[in-house]
């Protein structure tokens, strides 16, 4: 299989689906000649023209509002919000319209749309361009939330997201864009709501996503030298969560660590723990459930502070060791 970047995988999914389905269109800022702030849509305007690539003013609320309007009448809009931090500007069309009209209208409306949002820290962009706000989206029934960690997952999940009849938020961690991975030629889809075990293990389950999957994989590799066997579970879809795969893994390992970049308080680690607590896996727990998350701070500009604000590989190693040795 050819190796391509995460960026390319998303790009390819967009292009292939736009070729296949003429109701798919892109809407957002600087997605034409500029190719989007992260270059994901480069070249698409050239192939499809302004009738399929609606390059907007800086008007986030109306970009997503328009996507809802177009979706209700049967189009399949894909909106790009340049940074996930601007979720604050589009939460009304997302949470109050996209997520609710189907229910409010007694099943009469369908809202097949995707909102792409680059997330996360690590680029020195400071507090307004670095947040991981996926937990907020998970708290809105009616939405789906997808957060891939590999090029393979990104492409397969994005195709499913575009074809899904519901509004789907598609979270793209910025640091992943340049990462590479194998992606088959041609079409394939990955169903939404299905987790993936990125590494099998027997001593501890780490539930994690996006860039933290990679940091966790490295940490797992490190501790394997000490004989600790870590299972890494990537939900891939955060809403709906694949609770069964999570609880099965915890039943096998008896220990749970949730790792996310989002800030700690009210972050989605709590949701994973609540799900386990309510499940048969509770009785299999050999240690308290733990989380390792972003600190409760805005993302600082200084590179060392920025690094300190979110979990790093060495933090994950330390946390794994602590849990497995019952020292926390």
């Amino acid at each position: 299989m050819p190796e391509i970047t995460f960026r390319q995988a998303i790009h390819d999914a967009l292009v292939e689906e736009m070729r296949r389905d003429s109701s798919v269109f892109l809407i957002g800022e600087d997605i034409g000649t500029y190719g989007g702030a992260f270059g994901v849509t480069a070249g698409i305007l050239d192939e499809f023209g302004r009738d399929r690539v609606w390059e907007t003013p800086i008007s986030e609320e109306t970009i997503v509002g328009s996507a809802v309007g177009a979706a209700i009448v049967g189009m399949k809009p894909i909106a790009e919000i340049m940074f996930m931090d601007f979720l604050t500007l589009v939460l009304d069309p997302l949470a109050n319209q996209a997520a609710k009209v189907r229910y409010m209208f007694g099943g009469k409306a369908t809202v097949p749309m995707v909102v792409r949002m680059p997330s996360g820290s690590g680029t020195g962009a400071a507090a307004h361009h670095s947040q991981s706000l996926e937990t907020i989206l998970m708290h809105i029934p009616g939405l789906k939330v997808v957060a891939p960690s590999t090029p393979y997952d990104a492409k397969g999940l994005l195709l499913s997201a575009i074809r899904d009849p519901n509004p789907v938020c598609f979270v793209e961690h910025k640091l992943l864009y340049k990462t590479k991975g194998e992606v088959p030629n041609g079409e394939y889809t990955i169903p939404l709501g299905v987790a993936d075990i990125k590494r099998e293990g027997t001593d501890l389950t780490i539930v994690t996503s996006e860039i933290m999957v990679h940091k966790s994989l490295s940490a797992a590799e490190d501790v394997s030298k000490e004989g600790i066997s870590v299972e890494i579970l990537d939900p891939r879809t955060l809403l709906p969560l694949d609770v069964d795969t999570i609880t099965n893994s915890v039943m096998k390992t008896g220990r749970l660590l949730v790792v996310h970049e989002a800030v700690k308080t009210a972050g989605w680690a709590g949701e994973i723990m609540a799900s386990v607590s309510e499940s048969p896996a509770w009785d299999y727990l050999d240690a308290p459930m733990r989380r390792l998350t972003g600190k409760d701070v805005p993302i600082p500009y200084n590179r060392f502070l920025e690094r300190a604000a979110v979990p790093q590989e060495e933090d994950i190693v330390r946390e794994i060791q602590a849990i497995v040795s019952n020292q926390y």
């Binding site: 609320e61 328009s66 209700i72 009304d92 409010m104 209208f105 007694g106 099943g107 789906k144």
Partner: protein
């Protein structure tokens, strides 16, 4: 302090001769009578709503448009079946005028399974998407943000549809007003923006909370033709909307219009009307658009006093039947509470 009361001249001419105007507009006498009927139907629907509320049969709030029926009828008669309607919380009139089944509306109002939204939406969220009625939003101006997307869909499909988006004077102060009109403007989208200025957004008198009124300059400043018309003159509204729709339909881009009318009742059930005088309300009651149109039709011998009485009775019956239908309809099943969150 901004307190620029609306006093700009109307952009349109007052209807003084129904026959003459009808001829200009290509309307038959029957058309005029059915316009009148619809206005009466809306009035009866909403008077019944207050009655039911008074009887404790409604759990929830409602926003009535008594006194504003001419806007609804004028717009509703212009809208073709293929066109899209994007509505707001004070939407009964527009739905009825665009042909919605009052039985299903009343059932929705009473929260019944047979309602348009199976009792999930209620008075504020009536929708019938398969009939191109894209529903009403309860977040003021949210529907304005949705409108360009409907325009984009129409443009991409190259049909000759129009999207009509309705909102109040209060909504024109939400930021999405600028964003939406600007987007429709740069892409020449087929969207007609209908601002129903009933003088108040809840307790806020339009002139007190708006830097400048009427709003048409806001549209013009975004490159969209803007108008201010008399919203209590149903034929004037119809005439204007007809032109606006053909402008939008022909690919000439969006149009903005503000129709001046008045909300006779309180904003919602919690309103004690402390922010305005009885006098003001009474003055506007004298401009009742239904009576005004009735008198015009009587004067032009298009309708007789007897017919007027019959229409009154007929519409009272239509609404009573709707109540009967709604009351005899089942409540939704509690077990189905999670249904329709996802497709």
């Amino acid at each position: 302090m901004g307190s620029n009361k609306i006093n700009a001249a109307y952009d349109n001419e007052e209807t003084t001769d129904a026959r003459k105007k009808a001829a200009e507009l290509g309307l038959t006498n029957e058309d005029l009578v059915s316009m009148y009927e619809v206005m009466v139907e809306i009035r009866h629907f909403e008077e019944m709503a207050t009655t039911l509320y008074g009887l404790g049969k409604v759990h929830g709030t409602m926003h009535l448009s008594i006194g504003q029926e001419a806007v609804a009828a004028g717009a509703g008669f212009t809208l073709q079946d293929k066109d899209y309607l994007i509505n707001h919380h004070r939407g009964h009139g527009h739905f009825i005028a665009s042909g919605a089944d009052v039985n299903k509306m009343m059932a929705e109002f009473l929260g019944k399974e047979t309602g348009f939204c199976h009792g999930r939406g209620g008075s504020m969220h009536i929708a019938d998407v398969t009939a191109n009625n894209l529903g009403a939003q309860g977040i003021v101006a949210a529907q304005i943000a949705m409108a360009p997307g409907v325009g984009i869909a129409i443009k991409m499909r190259k049909t000759d549809q129009v999207a009509l988006v309705i909102f109040g004077d209060g909504a024109a102060n939400r930021g999405v007003f600028l964003e939406s009109l600007n987007m429709s403007s740069i892409w020449d989208l087929p969207v007609v923006y209908l601002c129903e200025n009933n003088h108040y957004g809840m307790s806020a008198e339009v002139g007190r909370v708006s830097g400048k009124v009427p709003f048409k300059d806001r549209a013009e400043a975004l490159g969209i033709p803007g108008y201010f018309i008399d919203g209590n003159d149903v034929l004037a509204v119809y005439e204007f909307m007809k032109n606006a729709f053909s402008h939008a339909r022909s690919g000439s881009g969006p149009v903005f219009v503000e129709t001046e009318t008045y909300r006779i009742l309180g904003h919602s059930k919690s309103d004690r009307n402390l922010y305005r005088t009885k006098d003001e309300i009474n003055q506007w009651k004298e401009k009742d658009p239904i009576i005004r149109f009735r008198d015009l039709l009587l004067e032009a011998d298009i309708i007789t006093v007897k017919q007027v009485d019959e229409i009154e009775k007929k519409m009272a019956k239509v609404i009573e039947d709707a109540v009967e239908f709604a009351e005899n309809s089942p409540e939704p099943n509690i077990e189905d509470v999670m249904e329709w969150v996802y497709a």
